[in-house]
Structure formats: C-alpha cells, structure tokens
C-alpha cells in the first residue's frame, strides 16, 4: 500500500535538494544581478537587493513552485531610459525617481493580481511578444557591447550605439585606448559564455559560466596584487563600486514627479513588461516542474507586486520571474518554493562576506554576460524560426522590433497588436468576422455522454489572440489527466498565437497522463507546414492539400506503423458509399484522410443533408469493411442513427435467440430474418457486446461503421481501425 507522506515531512526531506539548487542559482544570480543593474545605470547593488527581496517575498507569498525571482533582463531597456531621462540626465536623481516608479508599478501589479488579470498576457500575439523581446535583446547588446570592450563613455539611443560598434572595435584592435586589458577580459568572458556548454567536463560544469567569469576575473586581480610587479591594469572606473557599508547606504525613492507624464509612461511600461515577462516565464517554468503542478499566476502576480514595492523602498530594482535562472533551478533538482528562498539567502551571504572581492569584478566581464544574453534574445535564428511559421508572422515580428527600437516599448507592442489584427483582416478579407463575433462566447464545452467521458470543446467563428482567453478559460478547467477533443470545424480562422498555446496544452496533458487533441483543422489551409502556422478555411483547394495538420501527420505515421496506406485527399468518391442507406439522403462533398489496408478503409467524409437553406454540412469519420462473401442486409444501432431505415419496407426489428441482453441493448433491423440469425453467431454477438459501440450498416458491398457524427480524434481512429480488423477476422472465420 502506498502511504501518503505528510506535506511537512516531504518538505523537510526535500530541503537539502532545494538548498543545493538555490546555491547553484545564486552563483548565476550574483553576476547577473550586478550586471543587469549596471546595464540599467543603477548602482550594482540594486540588482542584488531585488533578487534577495524577490527570493524571500515570493517564496513566502507566491503561488508557483520552482520559479526564481529577481531583476529581469526585459526591464533593462525601460529602466535605463527611465534613469537617464527622468531627471534630465542626472543619473543619481533619475534613479531615485525610477525607484518611485517601481514602487507604484508594484502596487499596480498587486492590483492586477487581485483583479485576476493573469490572463493579461493572453491578449498579446506571440509574434509581437517575440519581436518585443528581440528589441530588448538588441537594446542590451548595443549598450553592453561597448562596455565589454572597456568603453563606458558611449552615449545615444540604441541605433546610435549600434552604429558606433565598428568604431569601438577599431579602437580596441589598434590599441589606441588605454583599455586594452579590460577589453581582453571582456572578450575572454564572452568566449567562456559561448563555449561553456560545449566543454564536456564534469568538474568544469559544476560551476555555472557566469560564476567562472567572476572567479577568474577576481583571481586575476589577486594575481596582480600579490604576484605581479605591475599594477592592476584595469582602471578604477571599470570596476564595480559597492558602498562601504551596504546596509546603511540604501537609496530611498523620490516621489517628487509622480504626476509627470514621462513618469506615468515609465510606470506603465514597467508594469506591462514585468507582468508579461513574469507571466510568460511562469507558464514556461510550469512545463519544467518535475511534479507537474499548476502555478497560481494571480497569487504570483500579487507576490511580485509586493516584492517590487519593498525592493524599491530599499533601493532595489523591481522583481520579476525569470526564465533562465528558473530553468537552472529546476534542472538542479529544486522541488518547491524554498529553493527561491535559499537562492536569496546565499546572495545575502555573498554580499555580506565577499564585498571586498565583489569590488574587484571588472565591468567588461559582466558586460560580456549581458552581451551574450542580449544576443540570445535577438539571435538571427529567432528570426528564421518566426519566418518558418509564416511570412505574416515575420512581418509582425519585424514591425514590433523596429517600432520598439525607434520609439519605445509600449508603442512597439501596440503596433505589433495592430499589425497582427490588420493581417488577420486582410487574410480573411473580412472585418466583420472579427467585429461581429469578438464578444460572442464562442466556446462550448461538455463531457461527452459515452463510456470514455472525454471533454468535447467546440469553437465557433474565429479563434485568435483577441478571444483566446475564452478558450483558455474553458481549457483551464479540465484536469490534465483527462481526454480532451478540441473541435475547430465550426471555426473559420485560427491564428498562430492559439496554435502555439494549444501545442503547450498538448505537451502539458501528455506529461500529466491525459490526452489532448485538436480536430477539424484539416480543411483549413496554411501557408507553411509549421505546426504553429495560422489556419483558415481557404477558397482554393490547393492550399488545404499542401500543408498537413498535426492530425494528418499523425495519421500518416500511424499508417506507416500499422501497414496501412494513407492519402490525404480522395479525388474520386467511393462508389460503395452510395449503396448504403445512410447516404441515400445525403450528398457527399469530399472524402479526406483515407487509411486503407486489405479489407478496411477508414476515411473522413464531408457530406451535406437537405437542400438550399436547410442545408447542413456534416463531417464524420467512418470505416468501410469489404466482405468477400454474401452477407445479409442489416443495421445495428443503439441511438436510432439509422432511423430512416425503419420506414423502409421489409426491414423488421430482429431479436437473436439466446441473447436477450443483446436484443435489449441494440436495435437490430434487417430484411432476411433467417440469414441474420445464422450470421449473428455467439462469437459475433459477444464481440459486439464487449467492444466499444459503433453504428453499423451492412449491405452487399460490405459493412459501414460510423463512429459519431463528428470527426474522430487520432486515438479514436486507432480504436476504430482495430475494431474493424478484428471484426473482419471474425466474419471471415465463420
């Protein structure tokens, strides 16, 4: 028997693991905290304060499990512009104003948490967010690149800084500046960052790359102090300055400018970026959680808000959830929030014990770490990734990126949203599809009424970043160990943001033992074969046939595994279908996704019923089994799907002798009572009784097996195929 351990005991038992994980994270957080603060032109200590306060407060109040909180790289650009501009160039005063902005944005985040605005991040198109992050990356890269070469005197906005890069490089190569040594330290540090992951040495990998840089740089300064006759060749202004008494020299926010419009802009930008960065990180970290828990994002928002406020009052930067440090945390075996707390505690210890050593860290070394992070955010590989999803995504990405670079973050992200919306309108050639339906509650969810009780979610009209939150609200209510089918066949447009998020759901459900499947997209065309490409009902057939959906790809691989053959489109309609009574009153439009083996043919069929105004389009998955010997005409059914047949002359309700239960559970109708009685042997009756229930109709050309009057998920198709194989074997043996 499994005994359930008390939560407290588990917590105590896990403490060593969490202490270790917290320690490893603190090794990264120390240089990163210092670096991010310096990059924002704040005192280096501000980054550490933020990490310590964040670690303690969020560990106590937060709602997520293995996340790490501290200063975030997304905010560097906003904080930098705030500190340098709020007091018209006076950096010290600008810093104090910025602290006030952080305090207020912390309060705003707390409010967002109380208003349950954790869904906020769902309203941003993913390509626009990507573009924004790339712009932030370029911003960090442009500024820190100069510092890495020992040049701290550059001025101007991101574009100016980028243009000055060749100049700085030339200066460095021609050794004209006196910072050659500092620049070398920077470049070596950058090389460590780049090649760290390529070196496969257990002992080397024990310490994270940023910490190696710190250790080596500090070691270098000790070498010059004790062993070399020369002076330390790095200038004093290129070293970190930390006040002599850390605890007594804390800065205090200056609220003198809170009604200034620039100040308000800064508050909005900080709140927006820190919420988005945190929410995205929490979502990503949840996938890394070894125990597969779900984070309470609103609780986390509240905790982050409180932590930011406190941190700013103590002179620290604001607190966000950070993805890189969190993933290191999870990879090192963290299991609960205490890891975040221990990370903060170790930072405090470092700060109090190693002040002397921290002062020896050269700025170019820290800048190299930031150059590397900035580059990773804006790497060209990200652009090609976006391009593979679709040309339109690249347009959104680049618009957001460029607008952000030339104006500011808020304008950038807003322009991203506007461009995305315009592209959706142009692609669908319809504004009304969006304006007419955006407010409608377009998602229906219910538990299907059969033995499996899977959740069925149907989405109408369109599904994009504008109304994704409605779908999400429903999906979030399904326990992740259940079966879910999301049906988009009533939806004429699904965008990239939704496709990407759904793939996250698929991953989560798979990892927690459930099953999540998307159906009804096979008719929607996509311009690329990327799984996240946006899909819409296309006018041209060519488009729909070109790029397979995930369902189609899975069907293809199933076909390979089980020796079936797969075709995505059946050009000629199957002749045998019209022999079945079921199709007497229906017009077949299209047959898609055909799987065949010797006897059985599985297919999606799209057909209409009724004429003109009463016409209804139905999509369904069916199977046909070819039987080589003559079989009697009959229908076997439980719900009355073949009800039309009761009215046909000559069809009677037939009960099989000796199987009263079978006769009670199924409606068996047919013309030739004798033939049917001999056909339904004990074995066959037992087979029908013990297997999943399908509607079956038999005519001279074989058996038609109908699943439901909707498309089947891949899982259901597998079951159906297996059912058909076994059934045809039993009939053959008779």
């Amino acid at each position: 028997m499994i005994t359930k351990q008390s939560p407290f005991k588990t917590f105590l038992g896990d403490i060593p693991k969490n202490i270790f994980a917290g320690f490893v994270v603190s090794l990264i957080a120390l240089p990163l905290g210092l670096g991010l603060a310096i990059a924002s032109e704040a005192p280096p200590i501000a980054g550490i304060i933020s990490a310590i306060v964040g670690g303690v407060m969020v560990a106590i109040l937060g709602g997520s499990n293995v996340t790490i909180t501290g200063p975030g790289n997304g905010l560097v650009v906003v904080l930098l512009s705030a500190i340098t501009t709020l007091a018209a160039g006076d950096i010290q005063q600008g810093y104090l104003y910025t602290l006030a902005a952080i305090v207020i944005s912390g309060v705003l985040m707390l409010l967002l948490g109380f208003l349950r605005m954790g869904i906020l991040s769902d309203f941003f198109p993913s390509s626009a967010i990507q573009g924004m992050l790339a712009a932030i990356g370029i911003g960090i890269f442009a500024k820190q690149f100069h510092v890495m070469f020992g040049n701290v005197n550059t001025q101007g906005d991101t574009i100016d800084l980028l243009l000055q890069i060749p100049n700085t490089c030339l200066n460095f190569i021609s050794r004209t500046g006196d910072n050659f040594m500092a620049g070398s330290v920077g470049i070596i540090s950058l090389l460590i960052m780049i090649y760290y992951s390529k070196i496969r040495n257990r002992f080397f990998q024990l310490i994270p790359a940023p910490m190696w840089i710190v250790v080596l740089a500090v070691g270098l300064s000790y070498y010059y102090e004790y062993f070399s006759v020369q002076n330390y060749p790095i200038d004093k202004n290129l070293l970190i300055s930390i006040p002599d008494n850390v605890l007594s020299n804390l800065a205090f926010p200056d609220f003198g400018k809170i009604w200034d419009s620039n100040f308000i802009n800064v508050v909005i930008a900080i709140t927006l970026i820190s919420s988005i960065e945190s929410l995205l990180s929490i979502k990503a970290v949840d996938k890394l959680d070894p125990l597969k828990r779900r984070s309470n994002i609103n609780k986390d928002l509240k905790a982050l808000g409180i932590a930011s406020t406190i941190s700013a009052f103590l002179g620290g930067l604001n607190v966000v959830t950070v993805i890189a440090r969190s993933s290191v945390n999870a990879n090192n075996g963290a299991t609960n929030k205490s890891a975040n707390f221990f990370h903060a505690s170790f930072l405090l210890v470092f700060l109090l014990l190693f002040q002397e050593q921290l002062r020896k860290i050269p700025l170019p070394a820290l800048a190299a770490i930031l150059v590397y992070t900035g580059y990773k955010l804006a790497a060209p590989v990200n652009i090609s990734k976006v391009f593979r999803i679709g040309k339109e995504q690249l347009l959104i990405f680049l618009t957001t990126l460029l607008v952000t670079l030339f104006t500011n973050l808020i304008t950038g992200i807003l322009s991203g949203i506007v461009v995305t919306f315009l592209i959706h309108i142009i692609l669908n050639k319809s504004l009304f599809l969006f304006t007419g339906n955006v407010l409608k509650p377009n998602v229906l969810m219910y538990k299907e009424d059969d033995e499996k009780e899977s959740y069925y979610v149907s989405v109408m009209n369109f599904c994009s970043f504008l109304n994704y939150s409605k779908l999400k609200a429903n999906l979030d209510q399904i326990p992740e160990d259940q079966d879910v089918i999301v049906d988009f066949s009533r939806c004429s447009f699904v965008d990239h943001t939704v496709m990407e998020n759904l793939s996250n759901y698929i991953a989560t459900f798979t990892s927690k033992g459930g099953h999540f499947e998307v159906i009804g997209l096979d008719l929607h065309g996509a311009h690329t074969n990327h799984p996240f490409a946006l899909r819409r009902i296309s006018v041209t057939k060519r488009l729909a046939a070109k790029n397979y959906t995930k369902r189609q790809k899975t069907l293809q691989s199933i076909a390979n595994d089980f020796n079936w053959t797969y075709r995505s489109l059946q050009k000629k309609h199957f002749k045998f279908l019209t022999d079945f009574g079921y199709f007497k009153t229906k017009n077949i439009n299209k047959i898609k996704n055909v799987l065949t083996n010797k006897k059985c043919t599985l297919f999606d069929v799209i057909y209409t019923e009724g004429e003109f105004i009463a016409k209804q389009v139905i999509r369904s998955t069916m199977m046909h089994i070819r039987i080589d010997k003559p079989i009697p005409f009959f229908t076997l059914d439980r719900d009355g799907l073949f009800e039309y047949i009761y009215h046909l002359t000559g069809y009677n309700d037939i009960s099989i002798d000796g199987h009263p239960d079978f006769s009670k559970r199924f409606f068996l109708y047919g013309t030739d009572q004798k033939a049917i009685e001999t056909f339904f042997t004990d074995e066959l009756v037992l087979f029908f009784e013990s297997n999943t229930y399908y509607h079956i109709e038999a005519t001279q050309s074989g058996l038609l097996i109908v699943h439901k009057e909707r498309l089947a998920s891949v899982k259901e198709i597998k079951a159906l195929g297996d059912f058909g194989n076994r059934l045809s074997k039993i009939i053959e043996q008779q």
Binding site: R293, R294, L444, D476, P479, R490, I613, A614, E643
Partner: protein, 280 residues
C-alpha cells in the same frame, strides 16, 4: 399544457412563399390546427391569384385555411391578429446571411418574437419536401417557465413524430463559485461541477416525473450539462449535435440595455443554429 390549435403565418410574396406555405400547412396538419395566413398589404387580384396557385400545389390541408389581407405596419398588424384570433403559435421565417450557412432573424421578426403573446416558431429549415424532425434540444434552465417548456416539447415531439429529446442544463461559471487557479482549486472546481451536474440532473428528472406517461411514450430522453454562456451555448450545442429543433423559454422582459449587451435569447436570434421554438 397549451395546445397549438391555431397557427398564424405571416406571408410576403417573396421567392420563399411556396416553402413557407408548404411548411405551415404540414405543421398545421401535424398539430391538427387551423392555419391563418396574414399578408400585410393591399389585397390585389394578382396577389390573390398567386396565393391560390400556391395553395393548389400545396399538400392537402385537413382543416380550413383562412387568409387575411390587412394594411398597416407589419408588427402592429400581426400582433393585433394574434390577440384577436387567439393564436397559439406564430411562425416566422429566418433570413440567411450572405455567409452561406448562417441564419438570423430580421428586425421585424425580432420585435415580434419579443412582443408576441403566443409561442413563436422561427424556421430556417422550411422546405417543400418535409425534413423529418429527429432530435429536439430543449433548455432545462432553473426557471419557473422551464417545466411548461419541457412539457410543451414532449407534446411537440409527439406531434412531429420525433424520437429523441435532449434536455440541456447550462451551468454558468458563476454558479461554480470556485475560481481555478492551481491544482487544488481545480480539484475543488471539478468536484463542484460534478455536484452541480447531479443537482441539475435531479431537478430535471423531477420535472420529467410530472409529465404524463402518454406524452413520454416512445421518446428517448437524455440530459446533458454544458458549460458556457447561458443562451449562446445551447445554440452552439444544438448546432454541434445537429438538432432539428431547439425549444427555449420565452425571454423575460428585455430592456434596451439587454439589446446592447446581448444575452440569453438575443444570442440565438442573431445566429440561429436550427429551427427554434420559443414557448410562451
């Protein structure tokens, strides 16, 4: 229970005239009711001839058909006839959007639906040949009118020879009372939902118990809980299960605000999923 003894159809001399009349005659035969055709406009020889030719082609009516020509505004005339003639069922045709498979109710029909003193049937599936009604979906809201609505739907399905009724209980998010934040609240919400489902099921079963057995004969009854927005989701559900008729409670009095922020029946009117019967 209210029986449909007198049926009123408003006619316009549009291309749909034949289908409308055919369907109306078939329905009046099924309910064994008297049919009254009202045209709002001047009585001319031409119109009368046309009507007569259509009536000749139509299936034979078992009761006498009465045709009225009356001038005035459509809404006022039809409402007036409804009260004067003591009509039980008003049949209205829906319009189709350019976008092929969507139907909605025009402004006149919408006002009639709101103000009508009797039950209203909104048709999208009127055709010359009868499409059999195989599946009826009816709302099972917690509302004093629901019992009457469910009883009427059994009456209707007996008359239309329909074999299957699904009673849909819409459970709104507010009723669950638990907000899903993390695993613990999710578990609580799932349990709460399960409890609500059972509670709603029992409520509907209690209503079913009160319905006369001869009405329930030969009809398969099912209950289904769905989660979504009240009013809209039932239409979506009817669309998904391809119901032939959706039966709903009559709306409570609507104000201007309700029309600006549509809910309940207003959703259905703007996007008809199938034929809809609104029971008064």
């Amino acid at each position: 229970m209210h029986q449909f003894n007198k049926i009123l159809i408003g006619i316009a001399f549009s291309p749909n005239l034949e289908q409308n009349i055919f369907e109306a005659i078939r329905l009046s035969n099924m309910f064994n009711a008297q049919l009254i055709c009202v045209h709002v406009g001047k009585k001319t020889k031409e119109k009368e001839n046309k009507l007569q030719t259509v009536l000749k082609m139509a299936p034979k009516s078992e009761n006498e058909i009465k045709t009225l020509f009356q001038e005035g505004t459509p809404v006022a005339v039809i409402l007036d006839v409804c009260t004067k003639e003591n009509i039980d069922l008003l049949i209205l045709g829906a319009l189709q959007k350019e976008n092929i498979y969507k139907y909605y109710v025009g402004s006149i029909a919408r006002i009639l639906t709101r103000k009508s003193p009797c039950s209203v049937l909104l048709l999208i599936k009127h055709s010359k040949v009868r499409v059999p009604c195989k599946h009826i979906v009816v709302n099972g809201l917690k509302d004093p009118k629901t019992e009457e609505t469910i009883r009427t739907s059994f009456y209707v399905s007996q008359k239309l020879d329909c074999k299957k009724i699904t009673i849909v209980e819409e459970i709104t998010q507010q009723e669950i009372h638990v907000k899903v934040n993390d695993d613990i609240s999710l578990r609580r919400a799932t349990i709460a939902k399960e409890r609500l489902r059972t509670r709603e099921d029992i409520r509907v079963k209690d209503i079913l118990k009160c319905i006369a057995p001869e009405l329930k004969k030969n009809i398969e009854t099912k209950t289904q809980s769905i989660f979504g927005k009240r009013g809209y989701s039932i239409g979506h559900y009817a669309n998904v299960v391809r119901a032939d008729l959706l039966i709903m409670n009559a709306p409570n009095k609507t104000t201007l605000l309700d029309r600006m922020f549509p809910h309940d029946i207003e959703y259905i009117l703007s996007e008809l999923p199938t034929d809809v019967l609104i029971v008064k």
